[in-house]
């Protein structure tokens, strides 16, 4: 126990002596929360053309109200089409001027499916929210009454992703740095040093990465405007468990990859893949079947499930998630220990 505490105290002391690294970690987390969240949660103020010289529809008001669109009114249909072609507007609503026809034609550039999706989503929002006012037979309903938007949904997934990023980074800078400086040997030469190091390092990495994450969330949430949910202790538990799991897995990777350059490259590439596969951005259920099966094998899927559950209050299989994350942690720790014992000298 004294060895574990000694290593933890030393690591934390070292951590406090690297303010630049600490600041950079917090900034990274904030950037991901702000930029990725903003980008994925959809565009605002998309320039949307409206040709309705007679003012038959009230589309201008309804579209503007969604804040997704910035409406530009046209009196000349040809000029509006020209602006669409020159990408000055992303879409054009051509409201039929025949009072009997009562139709709207939506024209888009058509060369960017993602923009078309955004337009479609925006229009759908207009229609479903205003269905009653517009007197159209279109209704939307949800099984669970939730009080969060796409931004919140994305952010809760990003929290799981950040658990991975921060844990991996800290493992790299803690373990591999120690190997590079050869100071790791001092620990290994002490009786029981190897086991103490495995426990102490994963705990310290978990503590440091969690603190950075909480700080970034605390700073970003009120400024950007996303919910942290009401389950404070649940959020702490979910993030600590997720960070711990990724720290243990990161340790295995570090034992195999050994140099900071290869380690950083590998975990970065892997991180991007995990983010897309594990339902951080696109819900797993909306992915192809084989990807769904793959996602179920990966720990980030369960980390995302548990963080979304505690932050948004949506249904999550907590016991399954916790069990699987703990299993990943234990297996990773045992594997890391085996690898460390085998390659002490080369490390």
């Amino acid at each position: 126990m004294h060895a574990i505490l000694a290593i933890m105290y030393k690591d934390i002391l070292q951590w406090t002596r690297r303010p630049l690294y600490f600041g950079a970690s917090v900034m990274l987390a904030i950037l991901i929360l702000v930029c990725v969240g903003n980008t994925i949660s959809g565009a605002n103020d998309m320039p949307f053309g409206l040709y309705d010289p007679a003012g038959i529809s009230e589309l201008s008001k309804h579209l503007t109200d969604t804040k997704r669109f910035r409406v530009r009114i046209y009196d000349d249909l040809e000029k509006a089409k020209g602006d669409l072609a020159r990408e000055k507007i992303v879409a054009l609503a051509n409201v039929s001027q025949d009072p009997l026809e009562d139709s709207v034609q939506i024209l888009s550039g058509g060369n960017n499916p993602l923009i078309d999706d955004q337009i479609a989503m925006g229009l759908l929002a207009v229609l479903t929210q205003r269905a009653k006012e517009l007197n159209i037979p279109l209704h939307s309903a949800a099984l669970f009454q939730v009080n969060f938007g796409l931004r919140d949904y994305i952010t809760s997934g990003l929290v799981a992703y950040l658990c991975y990023v921060l844990a991996s980074m800290n493992v790299g800078f803690s373990w591999i740095y120690e190997w590079m400086e050869r100071t790791y040997r001092q620990i290994v030469f002490a009786p029981g040093g190897l086991n103490a190091a495995i426990v102490a390092k994963t705990l310290t990495v978990t503590l440091e990465a969690s603190l950075v994450l909480w700080l970034a969330l605390g700073i970003t949430a009120p400024i950007v405007g996303f919910t942290l949910g009401g389950n404070f202790f649940g959020l702490l538990g979910a993030t600590v468990l997720s960070v711990f799991t990724f720290a243990c897995i990161g340790l295995c990777f570090a034992c195999v990859l050994k140099t900071i350059r290869i380690y950083t490259m590998t975990v970065s590439i892997l991180g991007v893949a995990l983010m897309f596969v594990s339902g951080i951005i696109t819900p797993v259920k909306a992915m192809p079947g084989w990807e769904q099966k793959l996602a179920m094998l990966l720990p980030m899927y369960y980390a995302a499930d548990i963080t979304k559950g505690v932050m948004l209050g949506i249904p999550a299989d907590y016991s399954r998630d916790i069990l699987i994350l703990i299993s990943w942690s234990v297996v990773s720790l045992l594997l890391a220990r085996f690898l460390l014992i085998r390659s002490k000298a080369s490390i």
Partner: protein, 329 residues
């Protein structure tokens, strides 16, 4: 030399072997180092010195053979032997963000020393290392010599009976090396058994009780410095450094040496790097006549020189001779 027949060796290796795939790094190494002894292990790069230390410090499992540290079997009682030894590696294993005091404090806590004992030991080690006035500076701001002394202090925190030192003075300036040597002598005086690997032959000659030369993983030669000198054929004492204008491999020198060879049964080695002629006297008798004849030869052949030196063999000569398989059996 210490009595080897009665004392139990502090470090003992029996047929210690390490293979990396097809490559044999250490080949059936047998070694005994006795309590309070400083044993210097010499060898070229890749000879197997560091691999030997890595095995003896449990970092690397041997392919075969066994070893004992302080009587404990290194293979079956690895955790027990860990408390018995300290290691100073050629890489400075120090935490640069921490102060010397914090480095030692960490190791004291790691080994579970009681707080009071730890503080007393840290104070003693810092004083011995000459770092009392730098104890609160960051380690990264210390000089190379100071860092090395701190590394030795770190290795001594648990008061080990055995100290493994893998080229501890590499890269240090002469003054810093001398300070390290003084520390090593002090540790030796305190009864610590030391296994030192070094490239500096002068260092081994100065510090070691016994010297072993390892070559291609095998302990080729072992003994005290005088013993080794005796085992080398024709350990001579003449080296002639020529003036810069006259190259040691010139035709003038070659023909002059032929004349000298006709008089003496000589082995000649030309060192173009140092522009020096080394003359090997194959018999130890008739030394004065031999020296005089060589001196006369230089004047007679009109060979200008900067330095004419005679003396006892040094380890470099021993080392080079052994490397060339010139060891007399």
């Amino acid at each position: 030399m210490l009595s080897s027949d009665k004392a139990q060796a502090s470090v003992s290796a029996r047929n210690l072997t390490k293979r990396f795939g097809q490559r044999l790094s250490v080949d059936n190494l047998n070694l005994n180092i006795y309590p309070g002894e400083l044993y210097a292990l010499l060898g070229d790069n890749g000879a197997g010195k560091t691999t030997t230390i890595s095995m003896l410090t449990t970092l690397l499992p041997p392919s075969s053979g066994e070893f004992f540290i302080c009587g404990f079997n290194g293979l079956t009682e690895a955790e027990k032997i860990k408390g018995c030894f300290g290691v100073v590696s050629q890489d400075l294993a120090l935490y640069n963000e921490l102060t010397p005091y914090e480095n030692l404090r960490f190791l004291s806590d790691l080994y579970g020393l009681p707080k009071k004992v730890g503080e007393e030991r840290i104070e003693k080690l810092l004083r011995r290392a000459g770092l009392v006035d730098r104890l609160n500076d960051r380690t990264e701001n210390l000089s190379g010599g100071m860092m090395r002394r701190l590394a030795i202090a770190c290795a001594m925190i648990n008061e080990p009976k055995v100290l493994f030192m893998d080229e501890p003075t590499v890269g240090l300036d002469p003054a810093a090396r001398r300070l390290i040597w003084a520390t090593l002598k002090e540790l030796k005086g305190a009864g610590v058994t030391i296994l030192l690997t070094t490239h500096y032959l002068e260092e081994a000659e100065l510090l070691a009780d016994r010297i072993g030369i390892i070559r291609a993983g095998q302990l080729t030669v072992e003994g005290t410095v005088p013993e080794l000198a005796k085992r080398i054929r024709g350990m001579r004492g003449i080296s002639i450094r020529l003036v810069q204008e006259l190259a040691v491999d010139s035709e003038q020198i070659a023909s002059a040496i032929d004349l000298l060879r006709a008089k003496f049964d000589l082995e000649v080695r030309l060192d173009t790097l140092r522009n020096t002629i080394y003359l090997t006297q194959l018999a130890q008798d008739n030394v004065e006549t031999y020296h005089k004849e060589v001196f006369d030869w230089l004047y007679h052949e009109n060979i200008p020189f900067l330095r004419f030196a005679t003396g006892e063999p040094n380890l470099e000569e021993v080392f080079l001779a052994v490397s060339k398989d010139e060891v007399a059996s």
